[in-house]
């Protein structure tokens, strides 16, 4: 019979955890990717690194930044919004149609309308329990059809430019107003997330919806809100596009869907939800814009441009994704 043998008490194994240098570095990866890409482009064509060129990049990226910012919220909740581009196109048509009657109020009206449409999709998602992929895929084709019909399948010229003039200005002669607006959108959304419980609700929903619900988080409300913001952002992006093109068209933004989702992923936000942030999407959108306009401008031939685009975008994600937060990569 052995008596229990006691040895010395174990040392306290608990020490406070602080982020290591490596962890800090991973959270800055999107910015690093951006800088590396910019440097590479500058090497390929030194003319690319001029102020006017960078200003143009910023201006170009604004609609994409806004689209990506809105959709990021949906992705953080664990869903996806495939309708942003089609909704944005529809919004350009709205804008062009309503401008003669509403004048300066058109911007507000368009953003409100797309926000409401987004909310509608959110409600369909949470009430009918249809996966967001399907709801927004359906939304995509429905919005495209509506846009075609109300625009008579053609672009609508915007003659009165006063309503959008402000967005084409440059602050201090350098920073495009549209980019500033995009930054403000990101900033405001990020502040709301950071300062209120919304962030933990969104993350909890994205990481583990059932746990969030059983903890009494307003899961449905948060999701509907995310879709609403995503819709409103699509409306705002539409205003930017119209101010740039002087017209609204039923297919104007359709090709921005994949770049917007790519921007989110390149920023390092997990497509499965929970992990990520808005400023990551900002960096991602800038990377994607640089690739879209930078490669051809520095003289990469069309065929190689696509191959490079494919390779770089994968490499960028390889760099930015924080794998300690996302255990299984699907």
């Amino acid at each position: 019979m052995s008596a229990p043998v006691l040895t010395t008490p174990a040392a306290d194994a608990v020490v406070p955890g602080r982020p290591t240098v490596g962890q800090r570095l991973t959270s800055f990866m999107p910015v690093i990717a951006l800088v590396v890409l910019l440097a590479a482009l500058a090497v390929a064509d030194p003319g690319f690194l001029t102020q006017s060129s960078l200003t143009a990049v910023a201006r170009t990226s604004a609609p994409l930044v806004v689209l990506a910012a809105g959709a990021t919220l949906v992705v953080l909740c664990g869903g996806i919004d495939l309708s942003i581009a089609a909704l944005c196109s529809l919004a350009t048509v709205f804008f062009a149609l309503w401008l003669p009657d509403l004048g300066g109020l058109t911007v507000v009206a368009v953003v409100a309308a797309t926000g409401a449409i987004g909310a509608l999709q959110g409600l369909a998602h949470v009430l009918l329990r249809i996966p967001s992929f399907i709801v927004t895929l359906g939304g995509m084709s429905i919005f495209a059809a509506i846009a075609l019909v109300i625009s008579d399948a053609g672009p609508i010229r915007v003659v009165d430019r006063d309503a959008t003039n402000w967005i084409t200005l440059y602050v201090g002669g350098v920073v495009p107003m549209s980019f500033l607006v995009a930054l403000i959108v990101i900033g405001v959304l990020a502040l709301v997330l950071r300062l209120t419980p919304v962030e933990s609700w969104i993350r909890a929903t994205g990481y583990s919806e059932s746990a969030a619900r059983l903890a009494g988080s307003p899961v449905d409300l948060v999701k509907v809100a995310a879709f609403t913001v995503s819709g409103a952002c699509a409306g705002l992006a539409a205003v930017m596009l119209v101010s740039r093109n002087f017209s609204g068209s039923p297919t104007m933004a359709d090709n921005l869907l994949l770049p917007a989702v790519a921007a989110i992923v390149v920023g390092g936000t997990a497509i499965t939800g929970g992990h990520g942030s808005l400023w990551r999407s900002l960096a991602g959108a800038l990377v994607v814009t640089l690739l879209r306009v930078g490669l051809p401008i520095v003289g990469v031939p069309s065929a190689y441009e696509q191959i490079l685009y494919g390779a770089i975008i994968v490499a960028a994600v390889a760099l930015t994704l924080d794998r300690s937060k996302v255990l299984i990569i699907k």
């Binding site: 998602h125 939304g139 084709s141 399948a153 790519a262 390149v266 191959i307 494919g310 390889a318 699907k330």
Partner: protein, 337 residues
């Protein structure tokens, strides 16, 4: 195998302990929707219910079916695949340049087809490798590979459309057997092969399991990575074959041969009940989904819906069909992503 069931990727979901074998109601949703929609169109349009139109629908579904066969396995794993446009473009041009054509003196016939399919497999393998080695989500790797495929296709295209004059390949689109084009039989063959793989091969069952609980496979000592790569490779091969089929239909190798097939194949698979979270659905589900989508496209033209509205009506019907299918299985604390 029993039927797929239970939405949700959870490892341990202890609710509702009943044995489920046979086809539960939820899986019957898409086939029922197909029958209903078919019946509605048949009543509304005399042109729709002709035999030749049914043949037309089946023929029109061929390429989408082959693409969807590939993507189904990827979706079953819970991954996503957007590489179809690029891979199909590359394989379409490749096969057009390898069989008898107007650009060069090649006349490799069936060998050319095989090479194009292998090219597709290679590109698919690339997505898979980037996924498991670089740990980049498949959304991105496949988007990247699609761009690479389009780039390769543009390089090979070199400004002059390769037109094929290969009798075999042209025959696929033209010659009929039992009223259906050979292409359609090839697509049917793909469904059968896909089903056998899904049901009887380790690859297929593991793909299914990866979608259900990837981490558990690792705990059981299964190395998941090779299977993932293999699934993407197989999907790439299907896309490659689809590119060949498009070339056979169009009589020419087009860089844009696969345009739009990424989303339409995912939509078809999802409508059929292969959900994006993985671990659910299968080839037969997807085949039903493809038929549903094709019948819709065809029927809307036949009953004369304005081309402007067609997309919208299709979207509405798809959402309504899925909603009708999920309503009976709604639960309070159900996870819907």
């Amino acid at each position: 195998m029993t039927s797929p069931a239970e939405a949700g990727p959870e490892v341990v979901h202890a609710r509702r302990p009943q044995h489920r074998r046979g086809v539960p109601l939820r899986d019957a949703g898409p086939p029922i929707a197909l029958v209903v929609i078919f019946a509605v169109f048949a009543v509304l349009s005399p042109g729709f219910r002709t035999l030749s139109n049914v043949q037309n629908v089946l023929d029109a579904a061929a390429v989408l079916t082959v693409v969807t066969c590939g993507i189904t396995f990827v979706l079953m794993m819970g991954s996503i695949d957007l590489s179809a446009p690029g891979i199909m473009g590359a394989s379409a041009i490749t096969v057009a340049l390898l069989v008898a054509n107007n650009r060069n003196d090649n006349d490799f016939g069936l060998l050319g087809v095989v090479v194009a399919v292998l090219l597709g497999a290679g590109l698919g393998c690339l997505s898979g490798l980037a996924l498991v080695v670089l740990k980049v989500p498949s959304f991105m790797t496949t988007l990247g590979v699609s761009a690479v495929g389009l780039g390769l296709a543009t390089l090979m295209f070199a400004g002059v459309q390769p037109n094929i004059s290969d009798a075999l390949l042209e025959g696929w689109a033209v010659e009929r057997f039992l009223g259906l084009a050979r292409l359609t039989w090839i697509a049917l063959g793909c469904v059968v092969v896909g089903w056998l793989i899904q049901r009887y091969s380790r690859l297929g069952r593991y793909a299914f399991a990866i979608g259900g609980a990837e981490e558990v496979l690792a705990l059981s000592g299964v190395r998941v990575a090779p299977y993932k790569v293999a699934v993407f490779t197989m999907a790439g091969a299907f896309y490659g074959l689809a590119g060949v089929l498009v070339t056979s239909q169009l009589g020419a190798g087009l860089v844009q041969a696969g345009r739009g097939y990424d989303f339409s194949s995912i939509a078809a698979a999802v409508v059929g009940g292969t959900l994006l979270i993985g671990g659910r659905g299968g080839i037969l589900h997807s085949a039903v989904g493809v038929l549903l989508v094709t019948v819709l496209t065809n029927g809307l033209v036949q009953i004369g819906v304005s081309p402007y509205w067609q997309g919208g009506v299709q979207g509405l019907i798809v959402v309504a069909a899925v909603a009708a299918a999920v309503i009976p299985q709604r639960r309070r604390n159900q996870v819907t992503k």
